[in-house]
């Protein structure tokens, strides 16, 4: 066992494993410390990866050489492309995964990395080393030294589980102890803390469910992969099921509301609005007559089902009773009760966009500790924190993803610029460049960057090259291929359009609504390599179908880059900038943006404030030049 590492990562969830993988890939000696090595990348809530916006993040993580894509492909039980009926820019791939296979795939992928070590144990103490770095104590008298430290502890910091209105049970996840000493150690360094809550629904035994009464939701049959680089074997798909909660359940919940941890007053932390408990739904929308409930398989080798839509903190007896009001579940037996969990987080305005803590150089935070929710959000932060932890050790310049480059960039910029007041989740509406940030072009966007950083193996670089040339080939094919009326008219009529009289170019036909690139390629017998052209076909279709709007976004990217080119010193005396509104001065002083573009996104900073900020900064720089030596400290950003 070594004692000294360049990068130590505390936490083995989605943020931790991606951070450890990224640091190791960049060549740093890396250690991952976690209380249970059999649960690396545990899917602790819904065993699903992806969705609208989130699916794009999962593919971005993969393009950056991450673990999530491969692990999802290797464990998926059910796949759907959400928003398939809408434009390709908002397609969201989502997979239900086998709760057991996923962590196994994660561990396999991690163990393939040469620079990565593991240690099972609960981190219990942190010390700043004199000079440079940290000492990490693990319960049981072991300690490690780290030059950069990534903390990715999820819901474990002073975690507390609630089932019913009694006092909560201290726990990081169901059945696992919380991290209390670590929370105290971090707080002792002067960091501001907050408290959030989230919840999870009960599970039922599938052998006690009458599937005859449920609507079946089969997976999409296609051969979709989250991973760009690897083609693992996909498990067979299993269906999901849909039922609904009606008046009987509403009545039960309403009668027992006082026994819920949420409404009985046991919980103070704020929860996410988009992931409400059934209590919340019934209290906030009393007139909605029924609520959909999805029954999702937990694994290939178990009959247990995840009851999606009934997240709750009611006592177990109420949960068992309300489950039996659902059509098809009249005889069901609950196997695990749902619960709410409260945990500490650190408000993320305390971070640089590299996810380094402003107060403590070398310390990085990733995942739920920053006030986010979701596996994909955690994984994306893990990559950024892991990469920057390694770059710092190597003396290389930091790496920041822009809002125009990735949803991960949107996520982190939102966190450090706007802060959070509820657990943060990504939506397509959070991105101003929605048409540019798609699941089909994640590799085009991020692959070259990953290669330059050193995140990719030689084999992965090869794949990247192939994919780039495939895209060019597909584009050329659509420009050069012409269809005759008999060849293409059945397809056009099927899409609800007018047939053609004269031969027409594929590129022209693709402009029509409802005409899919993939269908044209099929009837034109295009010679693309199998299984590799899917993304390229979508990308070409986007270029044609959103023409004008994509250019519009690119123009705005240009404006953004110009604003980002005006950098702001970390020690600007914002509170003295009297031509700015009071609110803007306070917010700027709190966030200390890196450049004008980030300043523009701070809520409370108006366009007029920005113009005045420009003038104030110029004046301040002149004065500082004149009175050199009288100004304050210059911090390193």
């Amino acid at each position: 066992m070594r004692r000294r590492y360049e990068v130590v990562v505390i936490g083995g969830g989605h943020a931790g494993v991606e951070a450890a993988a990224a640091a190791a890939r960049l060549g740093c000696s890396t250690l991952l410390v976690t209380p249970d090595l059999s649960r690396l990348g545990q899917l602790s809530c819904n065993p699903a990866v992806g969705g609208v916006a989130k699916g794009i993040v999962a593919r971005e993580v993969d393009a950056l050489g991450g673990i999530m894509g491969v692990a999802t492909d290797a464990s998926r039980l059910h796949f759907r492309m959400l928003n398939r009926s809408k434009g390709p820019a908002v397609w969201g791939p989502r997979a239900q995964c086998d709760r057991g296979l996923y962590p196994r795939a994660v561990r396999k992928a991690l163990e393939a990395l040469p620079n990565l070590d593991f240690f099972q144990g609960m981190a219990s103490g942190l010390r700043l080393e004199k000079g440079e770095g940290f000492e990490v104590e693990v319960r049981g008298g072991v300690s490690f030294e780290a030059r950069s430290l990534v903390v990715a502890t999820g819901t474990f910091l002073r975690g507390k589980i609630h089932v019913g209105a009694e006092d909560g049970i201290p726990a990081g996840r169901a059945g696992e102890p919380p991290a209390v000493e670590l929370a105290e150690a971090l707080q002792a360094w002067g960091l501001e803390m907050g408290r959030f809550k989230t919840g999870t629904p009960p599970r039922v035994d599938g052998r006690t469910v009458d599937f005859g009464k449920l609507a079946v939701q089969p997976g999409d049959p296609e051969d979709f992969r989250f991973s760009h680089y690897a083609r693992v074997e996909l498990p067979d798909q299993r269906p999901c099921w849909v039922t609904w909660a009606g008046e009987a359940l509403k009545k039960l919940v309403a009668e027992n509301l006082h026994r819920s941890a949420l409404y009985g007053g046991a919980i103070s932390g704020r929860g996410p609005r988009y992931c409400p408990s059934i209590e919340d739904k019934i209290v906030r929308f009393p007139d909605v007559p029924r609520h959909q409930v999805f029954l999702e398989p937990e694994g290939l080798e178990t009959e247990e089902l995840y009851v999606n839509g009934l997240s709750t903190s009611l006592p177990a007896d109420v949960q068992q009773a309300f489950l039996r009001t659902l059509p098809g579940l009249e005889e069901c037996r609950m196997t695990k009760a749902g619960y709410a969990i409260e945990y500490d987080y650190f408000p993320p305005h305390q971070l640089h966009p590299t996810l380094e803590v402003k107060l403590i150089p070398g310390l990085f935070f990733a995942g739920q500790i920053n006030g986010t929710t979701g596996y994909e959000e955690a994984a994306g932060q893990g990559v950024v924190a892991g990469v920057n932890a390694a770059l710092r050790v190597q003396g290389r310049p930091p790496w920041v993803l822009g809002r125009e480059q990735a949803y991960i960039g949107v996520l982190i910029d939102d966190l450090v610029t706007k802060g959070v007041d509820e657990p943060y989740r990504l939506f397509t509406s959070r991105a101003e460049f929605r048409l540019l940030l798609r699941q089909d072009n994640a590799l085009q966007r991020l692959g070259p960057m990953a290669e330059e950083l050193g995140l990719l193996t030689r084999a992965q670089t090869e794949v990247l090259r192939e994919r780039v040339s495939t895209l060019e080939g597909v584009r050329r094919w659509f420009q050069g291929t012409t269809f005759t009326p008999p060849q293409v008219n059945p397809l056009l009529e099927q899409a609800g359009g007018q047939p053609i009289q004269e031969p027409a170019r594929a590129m022209e036909l693709l402009k029509r609504p409802g005409v899919r690139a993939e269908a044209l390629a099929r009837i034109g017998e295009a010679p693309f390599p199998p299984g590799q052209a899917g993304d390229a076909l979508v990308a070409v279709e986007v270029e044609v179908k959103y023409r004008g709007y994509v250019e519009r976004e690119l123009e705005r990217v240009q404006t953004l880059r110009e604003q980002a080119g005006f950098s702001l010193e970390p020690d600007l005396p914002y509170r003295d900038f009297r031509t700015l509104s009071f609110e803007a001065r306070e917010k700027l002083a709190r966030v200390r943006p890196m450049n004008l573009a980030q300043a523009a996104r701070i809520p409370g900073v108006s366009p007029a404030d920005l113009q005045n900020l420009l003038m104030e900064v110029r004046r301040w720089r002149r004065q500082r030049l004149v009175g050199a030596g009288t100004s304050g400290k210059q911090e390193e950003g």
Binding site: Y274, Q292, T428, S429, D576, A608
Partner: protein, 487 residues
């Protein structure tokens, strides 16, 4: 650290008046007034004593009210004293408004002193001596805006109130100050956010119970909002005229009675009237207000081919006015064919609306009508008014026609409906309107919603800039309020 400054200004015009108000705003306002009006001001040198600066006479008993309480909301009487000499400057009434409940949101003090040329100036100078800075024009209102006490439209309304010279503008400015315009634009923006939230629901939450809001409904709502913005935009050209006044030019052949009409409309002898054609060489301008609406009347040289240099120059000046005019009164004597003049005016005078004025009605035979002008058909649908500057016949009718032609849109608007009075407002509303139209058309043409929302966001931005509002995560807030979301 830069010391935040306290600004001082005379809030009333200088000159002879009963009272004058000096205003201060800033962190030092209270302490400065405390030093200006000390609790026990030193005694006044006796009248006829040594000039200021040379105090030395024995102090008489102290008569003044003892203390100024800047923190009590009640006005307090005190003596303002020259901080250098200790000389009393004036007796002042002090009203203090602690932050943030003040006009600017900072500590504000208003000092009412005696009016006139000296007292207010001396008080201001004493405050500058005590560390105040002379305020720039509009700086109090700017601070009010920066501190969130007024939105941008309200700040503009303050300016309209101060600068406005017509009752109509005054009324609109009061309405804007009460957030009449702000509220309406904020509501439109709120509704646009609602539309965006509906689309976002469709995109970000594809698996919910509630079906998506149908696009046809979103298109219908967008059309409704377009109508609202159109109604606002329609008030802009006339609303802007409320500030400067509508330009009304009197034109016509020489000796057609323009100057007489000009004088009659003004109710005073401003222009020289003779029977000699070509008397008026230059353009004469005067401002009048009818029914609360401001007009700038311009009398011009008669239009004819002239060899005389001065008269020619006068005619050129006339044309310069004519091309900018909102309305032109073509003055032609009864019996003279107006057609050649009409033709030339129609060709050259741009957007102006024409009114044919048949002058010298008192000289016509009783009951007769001019040979050219038997009905609207003869004048091509132009409004035609026979008038007599001499008897006053037709003047009231002419004013009514002018009001209708120039301010018809906003006179028809209900008093609670806002009118855009500034170019910035007009441009902002127009931008929002065009973006909203582009959004609606894009949806109608089948552009996918995730792309079409780009137009919607620009429309929202235009309104946010108008209001000076800073966007927050409001779309998502709307969404979670509107729909029951989440598994």
């Amino acid at each position: 650290m830069v010391r935040p400054d306290t600004i001082v200004a005379l809030a009333t015009p200088p000159g002879i008046s009963a009272l004058a108000v000096v205003r201060l705003s800033g962190p030092e306002a209270f302490s400065m007034v405390g030093r200006l009006c000390p609790p026990h001001p030193p005694p006044q040198p006796p009248p006829g004593g040594p000039p200021p600066g040379g105090a030395g006479a024995p102090p008489p008993p102290h008569p003044g009210p003892p203390r100024v309480h800047p923190h009590t909301p009640r006005p307090t009487l005190g003596w303002a004293v020259d901080p250098r000499t200790g000389e009393r400057l004036d007796q002042v009434m002090v009203t203090a408004y602690p932050a943030p409940k003040s006009y600017t949101g900072e500590d504000v003090v208003e000092l009412s002193c005696h009016g006139g040329w000296l007292s207010p100036q001396l008080v201001v100078e004493a405050l500058l001596e005590l560390g105040g800075r002379r305020a720039q024009e509009g700086e109090f209102t700017r601070r009010a805006y920066l501190n969130g006490k007024l939105d941008l439209l309200q700040a503009e309304a303050v300016l309209d109130l101060i600068e406005g010279r017509s009752l109509a503008l005054h009324g609109r400015a009061v309405h804007h100050l009460e957030r009449g315009l702000s509220r309406r634009l904020a509501q439109v923006r709120e509704d646009l956010l609602g539309l965006e939230a509906s689309l976002v629901y469709h995109l970000d939450f594809p698996e919910e119970d509630e079906p998506p809001v149908p696009l046809t409904e979103i298109v219908a709502q967008a059309k409704g909002l377009e109508g609202l913005l159109e109604a606002l935009a329609k008030t802009a050209p006339e609303g802007e005229l409320l500030r400067e006044g509508a330009l009304v030019v009197l034109a016509g052949p020489p000796n057609s009675g323009k100057s007489s009409l000009f004088n009659a409309l003004l109710g005073e002898e401003r222009a020289i009237v003779t029977e000699i054609p070509g008397t008026t060489r230059d353009a004469l301008e005067a401002t009048v207000s009818w029914g609360g609406y401001p007009f700038r009347l311009v009398d011009t040289a008669g239009l004819r081919k002239s060899q005389e240099v001065v008269e020619q120059m006068g005619i050129e000046v006339a044309w310069r006015y004519l091309v900018r005019a909102q309305a032109v009164l073509l003055c032609v004597e009864g019996g003279v064919d107006p057609e050649p003049f009409l033709r030339e005016l129609r060709e050259r005078s741009g957007e102006a609306r024409l009114i044919l004025v048949r002058t010298k009605r008192d000289l016509w035979e009783a009951g007769s009508v001019p040979s050219h002008g038997e009905g609207p058909a003869d004048t091509g649908g132009l409004p035609m008014v026979p008038i007599s500057a001499h008897t006053g016949e037709g003047l009231a009718e002419l004013r009514e026609i002018l009001l209708g032609l120039v301010f018809g849109e906003i006179r028809a608007v209900a008093p609670e409906f806002p009118v855009l009075t500034r170019r910035r407002q007009a441009e902002g509303v127009q931008r929002a309107l065009e973006d909203l139209r582009a959004f609606r058309r894009a949806l109608e043409e089948g552009v996918p919603p995730e792309a079409a929302t780009a137009h919607l966001r620009s429309a929202e931005t235009a309104l946010e800039e108008l209001l000076g509002v800073i966007p927050r995560e409001e779309v998502l807030d709307r969404l979670f309020r509107q729909f029951c979301i989440g598994k």
